[in-house]
């Protein structure tokens, strides 16, 4: 299925969860916060939250700033 991740369209398996998507992208789940379709998804649910065709996903983290 097609997902939009941080603005780019990507392919993902139909049984993908937030956690499996994070892992497939090589990201450290503990330093990423997640929105799906504009709604924040709490970390504790990342393993069970299934993704669906067309979902818009934002993966954010900390960067330097003032």
């Amino acid at each position: 299925m097609k997902l939009t991740v941080n603005g780019d369209v990507r392919e993902a398996p139909t049984d993908a969860t937030i956690l499996t998507l994070l892992e497939s992208l090589g990201l450290r789940p503990e330093i990423v916060a997640v929105e799906v379709n504009g709604e924040l998804v709490p970390r504790v649910t990342h393993g069970e939250r299934r993704l669906a065709e067309g979902d818009r996903i934002e993966f954010v983290t900390l960067v330097g700033g003032g």
Binding site: E35, E58, L62, V63, G64, G65, G66
Partner: protein
């Protein structure tokens, strides 16, 4: 609660909401050469509250180290910002993501008007302050030096008012000290000068006005020698704070001799100036 350095230098801690800080200098983590330099400069500055930004993970960049690995959370309180948000909704989303990421209720709220001035949008800032305060955030609000806006923000639930000394990154210092002083008189929450600091004297001047703290980033990170400037900012914060608490002498137009005017050799007592 008193933080006793010794009997003469006792001072209260900076308190924002339920958070206490040993240092009155808050330091940003942006624009350093690398994370190692950032970590060393933060240490040198004496700060215990550091700001960070929230951004999309760069999926194309090499994975590896994160700023997370360079900030010891036992030592520093992390203050996430909503920098470069130009509407209330983006700022709210960013604040909520930061809370999820860091497990903190702190938010340095910035809702900006345009990219050239980076001045805050007062209407959207007020709206976002109210919503975040209602959601339980400790909202530290970046604002202009407008005293009436500061009052509105405090009434909306801001935990700290953070007037810009001058535009972000401009290094112009505190352009309107009178407005900053009036803000302090009008609000009961801490006032922290945020943005515009160029050098140590800007920090001292702000602290001498009686503000509760100063937040800066570029002035250290972009200095020729960030480590030395971090030390200068640490000392300037302390110097300005002590000068404020000590109580300066009034300004006078004419001289007032420091040494005794009587007993000068070869000079008759009767012609000594009458004070």
């Amino acid at each position: 609660m008193l933080h006793m350095k010794n009997d003469y230098l006792a001072d209260s801690l900076l308190q924002v909401g339920k958070h206490h800080f040993q240092s009155r200098l808050l330091v940003g983590t942006g624009k350093y050469k690398d994370f190692a330099e950032m970590r060393a400069a933060l240490e040198m500055s004496g700060t215990d509250c550091v700001t960070v930004a929230i951004r999309r993970v760069d999926l194309k960049a090499p994975k590896g180290e994160s700023i997370f690995d360079y900030i010891d959370r036992d030592k520093y309180t992390i203050l996430p910002n909503t920098a470069f948000c130009f509407d209330a909704e983006s700022a709210l989303r960013t604040a909520r993501l930061a809370r999820e990421l860091l497990g903190t209720d702190l938010c340095k709220l910035e809702v900006l008007g345009d990219t050239k001035t980076l001045l805050p949008d007062p209407v959207a800032t007020l709206e976002a302050t109210r919503i975040l305060a209602d959601e339980g955030f400790t909202v530290m609000v970046y604002t202009s030096d407008d005293p009436r806006q500061a009052v509105h923000l405090a009434e909306a639930g801001a935990a700290a008012i953070m007037p810009a000394g001058s535009p972000i990154g401009s290094g112009q210092g505190v352009l309107n000290p009178n407005a900053v002083r009036i803000i302090q008189e009008l609000v009961d929450v801490p006032v922290i000068v945020d943005a515009g600091v160029g050098t140590a004297s800007d920090v001292s001047l702000a602290m001498e006005l009686g503000v509760d703290g100063v937040l800066l980033n570029s002035a250290i990170a972009l200095a020729q020698q960030p480590m030395r400037m971090a030390a200068a900012m640490r000392d300037a914060t302390s110097a300005g704070r002590n000068a404020f608490l000590a109580g300066r002498i009034p300004r006078k137009l004419y001289a007032n001799a420091s040494s005794p005017v009587d007993g000068v050799i070869g000079r008759a007592a009767e012609i000594a100036p009458v004070s």
